[in-house]
């Protein structure tokens, strides 16, 4: 149901808009790190060495190496299934990866076809060069305070904190987003069914939810991690799968009250099927609290990940996540506070933005809000 008035109200809420803008920026930056992986790792070949004369072949080489670089990126190491699909070291031509073709076209369009331009293009992004995340420059730049070379300072290994914070954003943001998607798909579906049909189905689903909420989450996490091996995927999956009871319960409550309303009677009267009633009439009206719930849950999931990192579960070093950077940085709080401050601040800002957006959404979508002239 389109509601331009709601949108207008939302945009009037300055905090929510700021929050949303910040979040978009963060997601963009996280996405940018993928791009940087591809470019940054492109060890652009020396044409003399390879005796290449054709530009297209040159580009093919570059994209192939970029594809290999993408395989080597830390995030993909966390999703072995994905990396297996994308990894083709040794093959001559890059994958039919639409992104790379597009990239090539775009680069060509802005005239970056020749070697020097590509090189300088890469160098312009030097400051966030992926290598800096894992590059250890021992003894020369450990524990440096923030400076022009290290925007956020460096950690105990000499790694650039700014680069790490940026790469960590991928982890934290994806944990939140994916966990919410999983929890909500399960929760909304089951909640709807429970609320609408009531009776036995309702009892079964709600009792299942009760039992689900009491399951030992940490043991599940440990089992999952051991069985699947990939830490991040297990964490996301587990947080998502464990959390469906709460949204389910809320959706059920909404549906329970909505189904008694007159418009449902009307819909039945004109002969809508059960499915149509649920999905086309009831659910859109119940959507408002679900959206608010989702945003809040996203914030909660990010905080949960940081809590798990503090306890030692969750993403393990050397992969960076805001949570484990924060816990690690706590030991250095007195000597090099920037190690904990920046990831903590980013965490705080992100979760705060989610909360503002949620609040803005809730006010905008509140059906009882007086729509003024």
């Amino acid at each position: 149901m389109s509601n331009p008035d709601a949108l207008h109200y939302f945009l009037g809420n300055r905090l929510a808009v700021c929050g949303l803008a910040l979040l978009c920026l963060l997601y963009l930056l996280a996405g940018f790190t993928f791009l940087n992986d591809a470019l940054g790792h492109a060890v652009v070949p020396d044409p003399d060495e390879l005796r290449i004369t054709e530009k297209s072949v040159l580009f093919r080489e570059t994209s192939r190496r970029a594809a290999c670089a993408l395989d080597g990126s830390a995030l993909l190491a966390e999703f072995p299934v994905l990396s297996d699909a994308l990894a083709v070291p040794g093959k001559a031509f890059p994958l039919p990866f639409a992104g790379f073709r597009l990239l090539r076209q775009r680069l060509a369009a802005i005239g970056l076809e020749n070697l020097e331009s590509v090189n300088s293009f890469v160098q312009r992004f030097e400051v966030v060069h992926e290598n800096k995340v894992f590059e250890l420059v021992l003894f020369s730049s450990e524990n440096q305070p923030p400076s022009p070379t290290h925007l956020f300072g460096s950690d105990e290994f000499g790694r650039d904190v700014f680069a790490r914070v940026l790469y960590a954003s991928r982890i934290s943001l994806s944990v939140g987003f994916l966990a919410v998607v999983i929890a909500l798909s399960l929760g909304v579906l089951l909640g709807c069914l429970a609320g609408y049909y009531g009776g036995f189905l309702d009892s079964v689903i709600m009792r299942l939810a009760d039992v689900w909420m009491s399951l030992p989450g940490m043991m599940l996490l440990l089992t999952f991690v051991a069985l699947t091996g990939a830490n991040l995927a297990s964490t996301i999956l587990l947080i998502g799968v464990l959390s469906w009871p709460s949204p389910a319960r809320l959706v059920r409550a909404e549906v329970l009250s909505l189904r008694q309303r007159e418009f449902v009677e009307a819909a039945k009267a004109i002969g809508c099927t059960q499915t149509q009633i649920i999905f086309r009439h009831i659910l859109p009206n119940a959507l408002a609290p679900i959206i608010v719930q989702a945003t809040l849950f996203l914030a909660g999931a990010i905080l949960l990940e940081s809590g798990l990192s503090f306890l030692g579960l969750g993403v393990q070093p050397p992969t960076a996540s805001w949570g484990n950077m924060l816990s690690n940085g706590l030991s250095y709080l007195r000597t090099s506070p920037w190690q904990a401050f920046f990831p903590g601040f980013m965490l705080f800002l992100t979760v705060l933005s989610f909360n503002f957006v949620a609040e803005g959404l809730r006010e905008a979508l509140d059906p009882k809000r007086r729509r003024g002239p």
Binding site: P216, S257, F310, S327
Partner: protein
């Protein structure tokens, strides 16, 4: 009443649900890799023969269904077993029992403090929506629940314990004192209580504010005012009562939380509560303790949800627990 019948049905259903829960949890717990041998034997646990011998003695080498049945029969006769990895030989029921007082002390006091902060703040914010007062405290609330719990705890310790030296930084009592003293206990309780309360208060304030705003917009309030009732009567008798009703539902959902402990806060403050016990039990694979906790927490969750659902139904007669 339909509601009483519903409540009774739910109460009767708790036992089979607990049974199901115990079955699921038992499987999960035992399927996790590693065994208590790793903590009991320490560095010496690299000897598979020693691990095997220990597991035989503990009965862990038997097939899973058999283990479950023997556990079940022991529990039904009242024996929750003895701890394996945490405190070998120590009765589980004693281990859990010792943690009840610290956990409840912390959770109840922080909840009370949270309510104390949240209700007045939320109500006042609702009475003057979008005023400076409202905006300021809303912002604070948002900022508070965007902070990771353990971070806040650490900051408070650094400020109040280390820099200012006003309060102790961990534990439940000063180890140098020979006997229990209430003022000392409260001094130790204060920081963790505040950390937890702030987190709960932030959410509760928003909740109360929203609820109050809802109520104030209702027509019956306008009617009451139009009737000429003095404003404080309108406020207390009509608005406040109705606004705080959903709060009770929420408190119903919080019942299991009271005894499950706050893991992060307890770890930072060294508070000997159930949360820390749970984490340590997981890391030591202390199966009897974990199963006992699952039972306890499961029981509380089921009861808590039942209470919340009943209160919810009382508050909103539009909800009917029947077929459409």
């Amino acid at each position: 009443m339909a509601l009483t019948r519903y409540a009774v049905k739910r109460l009767l259903g708790i036992l089979p649900l607990l049974f199901l829960l115990s079955l699921l949890s038992f499987s999960i717990i035992h399927l996790a890799p590693g065994s208590p041998a790793s903590t009991l034997l320490g560095e010496k646990a690299f000897d598979p023969a020693a691990v095997q011998a220990l597991e035989e003695r503990l009965g862990l080498d038997q097939p899973l269904p058999l283990q479950y049945l023997s556990w079940l029969s022991r529990v039904l006769s009242g024996d929750l077993g003895q701890s394996i990895g945490l405190k070998p030989g120590y009765p589980v029921i004693q281990l859990l029992g010792e943690r009840v007082f610290p956990t409840l002390a912390l959770s109840v006091s922080s909840l009370l403090l949270a309510l104390l902060i949240a209700v007045p703040l939320g109500v006042t914010s609702a009475l003057k929506p979008h005023s400076f007062f409202d905006r300021f405290f809303s912002f604070l609330a948002f900022a508070e629940f965007s902070l990771p719990n353990f971070w806040l705890a650490m900051m408070l310790i650094l400020v109040f314990s280390v820099s200012l030296n006003w309060l102790p930084s961990s534990g439940m009592a000063d180890p140098r004192l020979a006997s229990f003293s209430w003022p000392d206990f409260f001094a130790h309780l204060l920081l963790p209580m505040v950390v937890l309360a702030l987190g709960e208060a932030a959410a509760l304030t928003r909740y109360v504010r929203g609820s109050m705003l809802e109520v104030l917009q209702q027509e019956f309030i306008r009617t009451a005012k139009a009737k000429g009732l003095p404003s404080h009567v309108v406020f207390y008798k009509h608005a406040l009562r109705n606004a705080l009703l959903p709060l009770l539902t929420l408190l119903g959902y919080s019942i299991p939380g009271l005894l499950s402990g706050a893991v992060l806060t307890e770890t930072v403050f060294g508070w000997p509560g159930m949360g820390r016990l749970a984490v340590n039990a997981v890391f030591s694979r202390d199966y009897p303790v974990l199963m006992a906790e699952v039972l306890l927490f499961g029981f509380l969750t089921l009861i808590g949800n039942l209470v919340a659902d009943i209160l919810y139904a009382c508050a909103d007669p539009r909800i009917r627990y029947e077929q459409p």
